[in-house]
């Protein structure tokens, strides 16, 4: 067998392996790089061959604990070491690696071989099960999300009560979990409870627990969610929906950090960080007299307002990519992405259900689309009808110009006609924005103020 056909045979064998495999020579230059390695790292083989392995592989251990270096130094193989790499798009990919020495016929070390397995799906499932989300799991490059990212770690470090406001599907629980997992309390429990879903009596026993004999069928003591979350964080979701009586009980816990289980007269001290979430305007509820002002002030120590998806449309492509990656893993499919026309439809939709709605749309498309790109025909019928109908925004075919119009109009609406602020958000000069407003024939909002 000639040398080139031998190399071809090796490539075929390596490409048939589901795990990533690459080899290096004694100078740490990549000498082979299989197809799975290309897929996991996002680096094409032609660009990887001949390059320094740490420029290609970008692993968390490259700097100080290189597995190949250790293997070549000790002669011992490394098996299934859990690390992470950054792929070509800057995404953190959890992998397990094994490394071994490559030797020639005389037993002389001529390089090393590393195999690695993508653990993203395992990690995804683990996160779903354990809820160990961090800020890295929150997707968004829009200015409004950037501001939240900048705040999040500082909020997490503090021990203050946090109020998260946002419409349904904006990710309130994800933010609450990220705050907990970034905080010094992360080793303790995160407990979430939907206050709006339970009647008063049940909510009371769920939150504070009960003593044996407190009511019929209460045969033994049962700890409440506050007790379970002791030392950790409790998320009180839909806090705007609780009754005045429960508001009074919650106020006492927040003020005195003690509570009494049902059927007990002994107060129990508790060390819990409270994160409250609501899709309502609590300030408005206070003014209407249905939410206690003193409780509002207690929970409104640090306030996070999560933007609706229609106010950060520029994040739609990133989110779509993330959901496609997630469903590809969960459903073992190979959807490459969305077509331009599909993306245009997704960009124009108003998402009353926010990120959750977008995720459902992508999941719907996965049912109808087997491989390749997601085309408009795979989208839910309501979305297609919306796209086919003459739009309220007055757009014809989806063109670059129509998307530009949409972005500029959204930015102006968000900043109530403030052109300087809108231009800053869009990353263009105010005079350029003014020219575009004129050329696109946009009407400024009524509360126009130029700067």
């Amino acid at each position: 067998m000639s040398q080139s056909s031998e190399q071809q045979a090796k490539d075929v064998i390596l490409d048939s392996i589901a795990d990533g495999v690459f080899t290096v020579d004694e100078d740490w230059r990549v000498t082979s790089f299989n197809r799975a390695a290309e897929q996991i790292t996002g680096v094409p083989r032609r660009e990887a061959i001949g390059r320094n392995c740490c420029d290609v592989f970008r692993a968390s251990i490259c700097e100080g604990e290189c597995a190949l270096r250790e293997t070549l130094g000790t002669g011992r193989s490394i098996v299934n070491k859990a690390i992470y790499i950054l792929d070509a798009k800057g995404r953190r990919i959890p992998i397990s690696i094994s490394a071994a020495v490559l030797k020639d016929a005389d037993g002389r070390a001529i390089g090393g071989v590393e195999t690695f397995r993508d653990l993203s799906m395992v990690e995804e499932l683990r996160k779903e099960l354990e809820g160990t989300y961090t800020f890295a799991d929150i997707i968004g490059r829009s200015p409004s999300m950037q501001q939240l990212f900048a705040l999040l770690p500082r909020i997490a470090e503090s021990n203050s009560t946090v109020l998260i406001e946002g419409a349904s599907g904006t990710g309130k629980e994800l933010f609450a979990r990220a705050i907990h997992n970034l905080s010094p309390r992360r080793d303790k429990r995160f407990v979430a409870i939907n206050c709006g879903a339970l009647p008063d009596t049940l909510l009371e026993s769920e939150l504070f627990g009960y003593k044996a004999g407190a009511f019929t069928d209460a045969r033994q003591d049962r700890p409440g969610r506050f007790a379970v979350a002791d030392g950790g964080t409790i998320l009180l979701d839909e806090v705007g929906d609780i009754s005045p009586a429960m508001q009074a009980r919650l106020l006492r816990v927040l003020q005195e950090r003690t509570y009494e289980p049902l059927g007990s007269t002994e107060p129990i001290g508790v060390d819990v960080r409270v994160v409250a979430a609501t899709n309502k305007d609590l300030g408005k509820l206070v003014r209407k007299g249905v939410f206690r002002q003193d409780l509002f002030y207690r929970i409104n120590v640090v306030r996070l307002k999560l933007p609706e998806l229609r106010d950060r449309r520029e994040d739609v492509p990133l989110l779509v990519e993330r959901f496609i990656s997630k469903f590809n893993r969960l459903q073992n499919k190979d959807i490459v992405g969305v077509s331009d026309e599909t993306l245009a439809i997704l960009m124009e939709h108003d998402y009353p259900g926010n990120v959750r709605e977008l995720e459902n749309i992508v999941e719907h498309a996965f049912v109808l689309c087997r491989a390749g790109l997601i085309e408009p025909c795979c989208l839910p019928p309501t979305l297609r009808r919306e796209a086919d109908a003459p739009s309220a925004r007055g757009k014809g075919p989806r063109t670059l110009k129509s998307l530009e119009t949409l972005h500029i109009a959204d930015a102006l609406r968000r900043h109530e006609g403030n052109r300087t602020a809108a231009a800053k958000e869009l990353g263009i000069n105010p005079s350029t924005l003014f020219r575009k407003i004129k050329s696109l024939g946009l009407n400024l909002p009524h509360q126009d103020h130029p700067s």
Binding site: T41, V56, C62, E63, L86, G90, A136, Q146
Partner: protein, 121 residues
């Protein structure tokens, strides 16, 4: 990889002239602590190899200009930066063609930091 780099090379530039350089340890593993360390060092521009998306975004939100996915001998990269030639395909990491972001405008004077891991800039 900036996410785990332990040492940073900090250069003070006065126009195109190097006014000083020093190494700074960066032990923090928490992304927010790393960002705080970078900003505390008064850095305007960070030149590094790989960097995770969230960390890149956090640095950008604090006003630090990130020139990522850069590799090659430190001095060569530095010369290219001072000459205003970064980003340059010659110093681009494999797999990163055409995905430079937020690297527009002219180089400003100020502090510039290099992630010095493994001999790459």
């Amino acid at each position: 990889m900036f996410d785990v780099a332990k040492v940073l090379l900090i250069l003070d530039l006065n126009g195109e002239v190097e006014a000083g350089r020093q190494e700074a340890a960066i032990e923090e593993s928490d992304p927010d602590a790393r960002v705080r360390r970078v900003t505390a060092l008064g850095v305007d521009v960070l030149i590094c190899g790989a960097i995770s998306g969230p960390l890149d975004a956090m640095l950008a939100s604090t006003g630090v200009r990130v020139i990522s996915h850069t590799c090659g001998p430190v001095e060569d990269v530095l010369r290219a930066f001072v000459a205003g030639r970064l980003p340059d395909e010659a110093f681009l990491m494999p797999g990163c063609c055409g995905r430079r972001q937020r690297v527009r405008g002219r180089r400003r004077d100020g502090r510039c930091k290099f992630d010095t891991q493994g001999g790459t800039a």
